[in-house]
Amino acid sequence: MILNIIGTWVAATLTIAILSFLYKDNPLYRVAEHLYVGISAGFAVIYAWAFDVYPMLVDAFRNNLHQKHYLEAWILIVPTILGIMMLCRSIPKIAWISRWPISFTVGIGAGLGIVAGVQGYLLPQVSDTLRPLISVNNFVMYIGVIATLFYFYFSKEHKGALGVVSRVGIIFIMVAFGASFGYTVMARISLLIGRFYFLLHDWLPIIR
């Protein structure tokens, strides 16, 4: 209980410290900022141990040995070595060693990306665009997708018919960006509401 009260006051102090930057840069804000970076870096170490190294290496190795799956256990040496090679990036003389695990991760990313890009995005999105033009919405969607694609075709100057279609594309893009802006404002204000609720309800019980 007492720890919760102390914690609430610590949280409120840190909240006000960060918000004080709105007035001007000051030592309280700088302390809070450095505290945040330090704690986040510490979290990274704990995550690496608790959610990766321990369960996927140490515990997996022990479990496989216990179940007499010796190949499954000892083959974990390979990703362990790759992981340690990744850390060599911090030492300039042997930083080139980290290219191997980086290549491994990049290769996996590229392979997965191609399949997902086609199966997970291109095919469904293109097939959904090609609907019968029997409703206004389908027609608008069709024109919008084509016009937007034409706008981003910069290999030819936007003149004549291409210019007209590009201008239609700009209309759709501006509407989309306006909608994004509206939603972004909503999102940021929601975050502010959350902090104000904490200050006015959890810290100072003004809201009951």
Binding site: L22, Y23, V115, Q125, S180, Y183, S190, G194
Partner: protein
């Protein structure tokens, strides 16, 4: 300096004070507002509602404290709905900093709805790897999560014994604040035909409507507004509904100031031309 020029260049700290008042006063005064439910949120609600009893729902916590005010009410609403329908819930995540938020929500809603950890829901924790992990658990969850987040083997939980991959999961819910929701849709929805609904921040909502239109996702709960709509549908108003009057006031203020600022701009431009 003319009146309009002075208005356009007002000290930003006055604007900050106005915003603070617009947010704080409705929170204190708590005016009543009515929430209108939009089609994407209704669709998300119905997708959960149509699941049979004992179906398994996987909720992926893909947000962190920076988006918690928007997305945490969605998680709480979804958990209340799922537990009311007697669904089994598996919680995992793609953002390590978000998992404790799930723990907080589970410890609030679980006892409230009379549900027990291990029997009705399980938190399997976080693993790095992103899309690789998403595809990997399509073969076998235990390749990545042999135990829950506390180290208890998954097979110790009765309902988890029959859950091996996406074929055994009725619905995947991604509560996301970045591009992770799109990864679930493209990597898992595309490859495994998994039914997906997405709860997201306002920043990401516009980019997800194309997936809703193509049927790749069954619903979107977007931003604090979406969270308040979901709370209205389950009949239990929470922090999202409480925040809507403040949201209204802030939006009204910003629209008013945009109109004033642009009026000043148009008048100043006309005077310059003359």
């Amino acid at each position: 300096m003319t009146f309009w020029q002075r208005i356009s260049t007002v000290d930003r700290r006055i604007l900050y004070v106005l915003l603070c008042l617009a947010v704080a006063l409705p929170l204190i005064l708590k005016p009543k507002t009515q929430v209108r439910v939009s089609e994407p949120v209704r669709s998300a609600f119905e997708t959960v509602d149509k699941l049979p009893e004992d179906a398994v729902v996987m909720i992926s916590i893909d947000y962190d404290p920076s988006s918690a005010p928007e997305v945490q009410p969605m998680l709480i609403g979804l958990l209340r709905h799922a537990f009311k329908k007697n669904l089994h819930v598996i919680v995992t995540g793609q953002l390590a900093l978000g998992l404790p938020l799930a723990e907080i929500a589970l410890n609030q809603v679980g006892p409230e709805m009379g549900k027990t950890y291990g029997k009705d829901y399980v938190n399997i924790g976080y693993r790095p790897g992103g899309s690789a992990m998403m595809i990997g658990i399509g073969r076998e969850i235990r390749d990545y999560f042999r135990t829950d987040y506390k180290g208890v083997p998954l097979d110790s939980f009765a309902f988890m014994r029959s859950v091996h991959n996406y074929r055994d999961i009725g619905l995947l819910v991604s509560l996301a604040h970045g591009a992770v929701a799109e990864q679930w849709i493209q990597f898992v929805g595309g490859r495994f035909n998994q039914t997906i609904i997405v709860g997201c921040t306002g920043v990401n909502a516009p980019s997800l409507y194309q997936y809703l239109h193509s049927g790749q996702i069954k619903g979107i709960i977007g931003g604090l507004q979406g969270a308040s709509e979901y709370e209205a549908l389950i009949g239990k108003p929470g922090s999202a509904t409480l925040g809507m009057p403040a949201q209204s006031a802030a939006h009204g203020l910003i629209i008013l100031l945009l109109i004033i600022g642009n009026l000043g701009y148009i008048i100043s431009r006309r005077k310059k031309k003359q």
